[in-house]
Symmetry: C2
Subunit: 124 residues, 2 copies
Amino acid sequence: MTIKEVCEKYNLKPDTLRYYERVGVIPEVTRTGGGIRDYQEEDIKWVEIAVCMRDAGVPIEMLIEYVKLFKQGDETFEARANLLKEARARIVEARKKYDTALERLDYKISRYELAMKTGVLTWE
Amino acid sequence: MTIKEVCEKYNLKPDTLRYYERVGVIPEVTRTGGGIRDYQEEDIKWVEIAVCMRDAGVPIEMLIEYVKLFKQGDETFEARANLLKEARARIVEARKKYDTALERLDYKISRYELAMKTGVLTWE
DNA sequence: ACTTGACTTGGAGTTTACTCTAAGGTGTAT
DNA sequence: ATACACCTTAGAGTAAACTCCAAGTCAAGT
């Protein structure tokens, strides 16, 4: 799979994928004889993880750390698990804040709906 | 309430609050005769909204737009409601991605827990 | 009155995560 | 073999959201 195809699949720009590889968010991608990236299933799995985690706000640095540990082999199972647990905790925290904001927005929107009928905006 | 006190309350830096005011994320804050910020209840409400929305990833630009509309008065109820609805939709979308990431993390973590017992890491 | 610490402004600097540019190589269809 | 689109790298540039700095002002305590 070419870089373009992978980008289309995950809605990324080629520059982003090259950047991910360069800084180590994903391991080195398989290449053709001529040096052109040819993403294998394994490579695509890594892209998928990266995209999924980035979409949940996991910082680049954390993903780089994970790939680093992965490359060090089986000695790092625990370290990797801990890293994932930390990422998990962060996402749970962020999600709580999203819920708070949603509640607040729902209340405000309902007040505006009312105000659009009565002409008067009131709180609480 | 001084800028420092408000910052302590919401875990912000004074520079952040001044920045919010400067770019219009919150309206102008009440000042003492000497020109020093003295946050009133009303001012603090705005800070609270800003923090809450920022924590949910609502961009600065959107908050600025909201304050702009607010300043224009009662003609903008609908526009404000629409803005809030858009913010809401974005947060809902982002939250979905957080849920996906959490599922994925839970699966991975469980696999690592297993691997730490068996010594072998396997997927699916 | 004077020290001390917190406040003010305008503007420059930083961080994170891309995103673009220039100069050149690859590969496939005519 | 010659376009042509697409690929490569190194390195520079950008956007968003702060964050810091310098130079000066304000206010509370002694």
